[in-house]
């Protein structure tokens, strides 16, 4: 056997902190061979990034690192910054999570690529370096690299900047590429491009790849071997197929059970993992997962389980005392995690047409003036953020709007929340048209019926208000007598699964998932008919996300709510929504019942979007064909004469001259089975 490119043994990292020593990484060992990809998954704070930074030698000065990191047979730990800088960017390169901040704003992208080249090869001439930079940009798929090489980062979109970062990572043909959540900040279609690109980079350079992610789909897509990390330790380690097919450790089982699937229509409830990860200070000598584990026994609490081979396979290792009893996520005949009950709705038996509409939106349009000049703003054009959007939501129904960032989802929501009167359209909430609203009183009445939950559970709660005040605020605004407020708040806390006794605490004392529950309690305070949810779970870890999704499902049934749900995660949408609309550059391109749209996508954009999502199953994932869109979303200021998707449409490429004319000149309207499934493509 050849020596692995990277061999990590018993890596430990700790940081001093006010609460005591934080043991961020507690004994990580793995090998990555040439051309292989190692996926490291785990929830936020499990030590994934710290592990990768320790390999790179980029940890803060106050970090204490122990163990061994061998790169091509040489020990990296204990080297000076100057010695490590010879290896960084040359032997090992790294791709970071946020492309918007990884590039220095005041240098052109060319300068930054050239710097990566010349720093390791002083004899390289400037000309040759620039030529190579252009070459690299071409390789990562930047159009017109000769011109773009002089551009500054702010002139590039997020996806393009991540390409530049990858170009820099590839520049010196590294033997190891470390990618820390390289696609988390990007839209799915761009994620598919970037994952492809990383595979290309790996093929070109024969490098080993360490792929850090929290997305099981990405792991299934790209990894050969997987490590699942929890509380700073690997708790299961196996080749990718084994890990998915024969999961042994309850935490990994939980992670897989908690994610909704985009390729399956069955609506069984998700299985959340209760509780939250332990603090990494003074951990007891016991299984760190014990407090959250559904099958915990006394043996789990006597000592921290070692990572040992299970099922007689040397390459499948798990850290669980009951790993041998567990087969493929089941303990005997029962699943490790009891499946939670979600009540079925009585409304669901009533056909959609017979249910009352809670929200009707007709030809919603919003344009923003485009201003230029710093002193006197001059209007130089318009941005059509939302163009003629129409839909309705019935009682007890969830309607989801999906689309890439910048497609106009949030603007649509805000228009509805603002009760914005439309010039040539209407918004009707439970039958009342916003155009008829006269005076603040009527508006306040209507406001009770619509409430919103925001994406960011941290930022949307005022840190100086107790949870009681946060939840009571809307009650007081509608003038509820003080004596009734207290019991109602308790009721609401109970409804969203929080302990009413905790309502005198401040939001900071709650975890992300709990804070999102507080946000939901506040939204439900006035007994609304419609709840608008703007990316309610995208800031949460999967195990926590599952709990919130289940809560939303349950509340919908119990209270007969309607949801208007905006998300970019299509798996979540498939799970929660009854109806879905796909938005592209301000318009719906496909709209209909969720199963119809997901099982039989008709618009080429929907097709691409769905195929771009990696499925958390390596076998399925390998057989799937990903439609990789070329190019980015066009700027919303561009004037578009025909189909907005024409610049990226794969179907368009296959059409003949005559058929193309329609795409380029006529704006396609939604057509198909009205009310069930419609799409806006001339040729579908």
């Amino acid at each position: 056997m050849t020596t692995p490119v990277l061999s990590v043994r018993d890596l430990t990292v700790s940081f001093p902190s006010e609460a005591g020593r934080v043991d961020a990484v507690r004994g990580v060992s793995f090998d990555v061979g040439q051309g292989r990809t190692l996926g490291i998954v785990g929830e936020s704070g499990s030590g994934k990034s710290v592990t990768s930074l320790a390999v790179m030698g980029l940890l803060d000065d106050n970090a204490r690192v122990g163990g061994s990191v061998m790169f091509e047979g040489q020990e990296l730990l204990g080297r000076t910054d100057a010695q490590m800088s010879k290896i960084r960017g040359n032997g090992i390169s790294m791709i970071f999570q946020d492309p918007l901040t990884s590039l220095t704003p005041v240098f052109s992208v060319g300068d930054q690529i050239v710097e990566a080249l010349t720093i390791h090869d002083a004899r390289l001439s400037r000309r040759a370096a620039w030529d190579r930079a252009v070459e690299l940009l071409r390789l990562v798929g930047i159009p017109r690299p000769q011109e773009r090489v002089k551009s500054f980062p702010h002139e590039f979109s997020g996806g393009m900047r991540q390409r530049v970062v990858i170009a820099i990572a590839m520049a010196n043909n590294p033997r190891l590429i470390i990618a820390d959540e390289p696609t988390t900040a990007l839209d799915v279609t761009i994620q598919a491009q970037i994952l492809d690109l990383i595979k290309t980079a790996q093929r070109e350079t024969g490098a080993a790849v360490m792929m850090i992610t929290h997305d099981m789909g990405v792991v299934a897509n790209i990894a050969d071997d997987v490590i699942v990390m929890y509380a700073g330790r690997p708790i299961e380690q196996a080749p990718v197929d084994t890990l998915f097919a024969d999961t042994r450790m309850p935490y990994s089982i939980g992670l897989l059970g908690a994610i909704p699937r985009v390729d399956k229509s069955e609506k069984r409830p998700l299985v959340p993992i209760k509780g939250s990860p332990p603090l990494l200070v003074d951990l007891p000598d016991a299984c760190p997962f014990a407090a959250r584990c559904p099958i915990v026994t006394d043996a789990c609490l006597t000592a921290e389980p070692e990572l040992v081979a299970v099922g007689g396979h040397a390459d499948h290792r798990a850290a669980c005392v009951r790993a041998e009893e567990i087969r493929a996520g089941r303990l005997g005949d029962d699943p490790v995690y009891p499946v939670p009950e979600v009540p079925a709705s009585t409304l669901e038996t009533v056909p959609r047409e017979l249910r009352k509409p809670t929200l009707e939106v007709e030809n919603l349009t919003k344009t923003f003036p485009l201003l230029k000049g710093s002193f006197r703003k001059k209007k130089v054009g318009e941005v059509h953020a939302v163009k003629g959007v129409s839909f309705d939501i019935r009682e007890g129904e969830t309607m989801a709007i999906v689309g890439e960032s910048g497609s106009g989802k949030t603007t649509t929501l805000l228009q509805i929340m603002d009760f914005a009167a439309q010039d040539d359209g209407d918004i009707r909430i439970v039958g009342t048209s916003v155009a008829d609203l006269q005076g603040g009183r009527a508006e306040r009445e209507l406001r009770r019926d619509v409430q919103i939950v925001f994406q960011d559970p941290v930022g949307s709660l005022d840190p100086r208000m107790t949870v009681f005040d946060v939840v009571a605020e809307p009650l007081r605004t509608v003038g509820m007598p003080a004596a009734d407020v207290g019991p109602r708040v308790d009721e609401l806390m109970d409804l969203v699964g929080l302990d009413p006794a905790h309502s005198d605490r401040f939001p900071a004392a709650f975890s992300g998932g709990q804070r999102q529950r507080i946000g939901i309690a506040r939204a439900l305070a006035t007994n609304p008919k419609l709840v608008v949810l703007d990316e309610p779970v995208s800031a949460l870890d999967v195990s926590v996300q599952a709990g919130v999704i289940n809560l939303l499902d349950e509340l919908k049934v119990r209270l007969g709510l309607s949801y208007l749900f905006v998300a970019h995660d299509l798996s979540v949408v498939r799970h929660i929504a009854d109806r879905v609309a796909v938005m592209y550059l301000g318009s719906f391109v496909e709209h209909g019942d969720v199963d119809a749209v997901f099982d039989d996508p008709q618009h080429p954009y929907t097709e691409a979007l769905l195929s771009a999502i990696p499925v958390p199953d390596p076998v399925v994932e390998r057989g799937r064909e990903h439609i990789v869109l070329t190019g980015d979303l066009p700027s919303p200021t561009d004037t578009i004469t025909g189909c907005a998707f024409v610049s990226r449409c794969p179907l368009f490429q296959t059409l003949d001259e005559n058929e193309r004319v329609a795409c380029e000149t006529k704006v396609p309207a939604l057509s198909g089975r009205t009310g069930v499934h419609v799409n806006a493509c001339h040729h579908r």
Partner: protein, 313 residues
């Protein structure tokens, strides 16, 4: 901008200063007629409508570059002409130095955050920042005199902007340096600290930024990454700040000049105010405005040099 500020000062000066009072209560007392006869030709008679006075003054500047005369009849132009250079020398020199020292210390401090050097530098800056300029100047004078006595010759002059009778290129430079050293030092001493703190915190933010980590991941050492990537980005806001602090330095110069007996604009300012010399006061304000404008332009140029993005757009 400069024009607007100057005109505004003209009206403000008329609201607060009264040239007539220079003559009222003189011994022997002057008659109303005599006073008017003195003031009228100097365009300082408040019996003439304000707008007319303003127009005479303004058109004088616009058409003849004549900034008027003082109540005693001295030409403002003459006064300003030689004082201007003295003050400009002092202010520009001090601004340049205190910016450089502040930025330099900021970089030093940031690169050894929380270590001894950083703490000492920060402590010193907190102290100097709170020393009133007068105290700083007087302290320096005492130190310089002690120093001169110790070496036995006059290295630092504590009064005046130049010695009479020095000629030739190098002797003039040496002489100027000997005079300018102390007032400049006083201005720098109380002024550098703000840039120290600003630069330090900006640089620290930048050192923690993703792109510095990225630069290190490319293979730059920590020091290289800081020098090339963090420093440049953090200098941009500091430079813009300099333009805004020129008025403050100007105020400082007013006091230092009086203490060091420099016949510069600052000292002129105090003199003109006490003598109800409207035209003189306005000329000083105009000078201040011009200096601020020059500072702003210099800062703009520096930003363009530092930030290539501005050049593109």
């Amino acid at each position: 901008m400069v024009v607007a500020v100057t005109n505004l000062t003209y009206f403000l000066a008329w609201a607060y200063l009264d040239p007539r009072s220079n003559y009222v209560g003189r011994r022997p007392p002057l008659s109303e007629e005599q006073i008017v006869n003195l003031l009228e030709p100097r365009n300082l008679d408040d019996n003439v409508p304000l707008l007319e006075r303003w127009w005479t003054w303004f058109s004088g500047i616009v058409f003849r570059w004549d900034w008027g005369v003082s109540p005693t009849g001295q030409s403002v132009n003459e006064q300003v002409a030689y004082r201007m250079w003295i003050s400009a020398e002092l202010m520009l020199g001090a601004t340049l130095l205190l910016t450089l020292i502040g930025i330099g210390l900021g970089v030093y401090s940031a690169s050894r955050q929380y270590r001894l050097g950083d703490r000492v530098a920060q402590g010193t800056s907190i102290i100097t920042m709170n020393i009133p300029i007068v105290v700083a100047a007087l302290g320096l004078v005492l130190l310089a005199i002690a120093f001169n006595n110790a070496v036995g010759s006059t290295i630092f002059y504590v009064t005046g902007a130049s010695s009479p009778g020095v000629s030739g290129f190098f002797p003039t430079i040496v002489d100027t340096a000997q005079h300018i050293a102390l007032p400049t030092a006083a201005l720098v001493l109380v002024g550098y600290a703000q840039y120290h703190f600003l630069q330090r915190s900006l640089l620290l933010d930048n050192i923690k930024s993703d792109y510095v980590r990225m630069a290190r991941a490319k293979g730059l050492t920590k020091q290289q990454a800081i020098r090339k990537h963090a420093l440049r980005t953090s200098l941009i806001p500091v430079t813009t700040q300099v333009a805004f602090s020129i008025p403050g330095i100007f105020t400082g110069a007013v006091l230092t000049e009086s203490i060091f007996a420099w016949k510069g604009m600052g000292q002129y300012f105090i003199e003109t105010i006490s003598k109800n010399d409207i035209n003189g006061v306005v000329a000083v304000a105009a000078f201040g405005a011009v200096m601020t404008a020059i500072g702003a332009i210099l800062a703009d140029i520096a930003v363009v040099v530092l930030d290539p993005r501005v050049r593109v757009s």
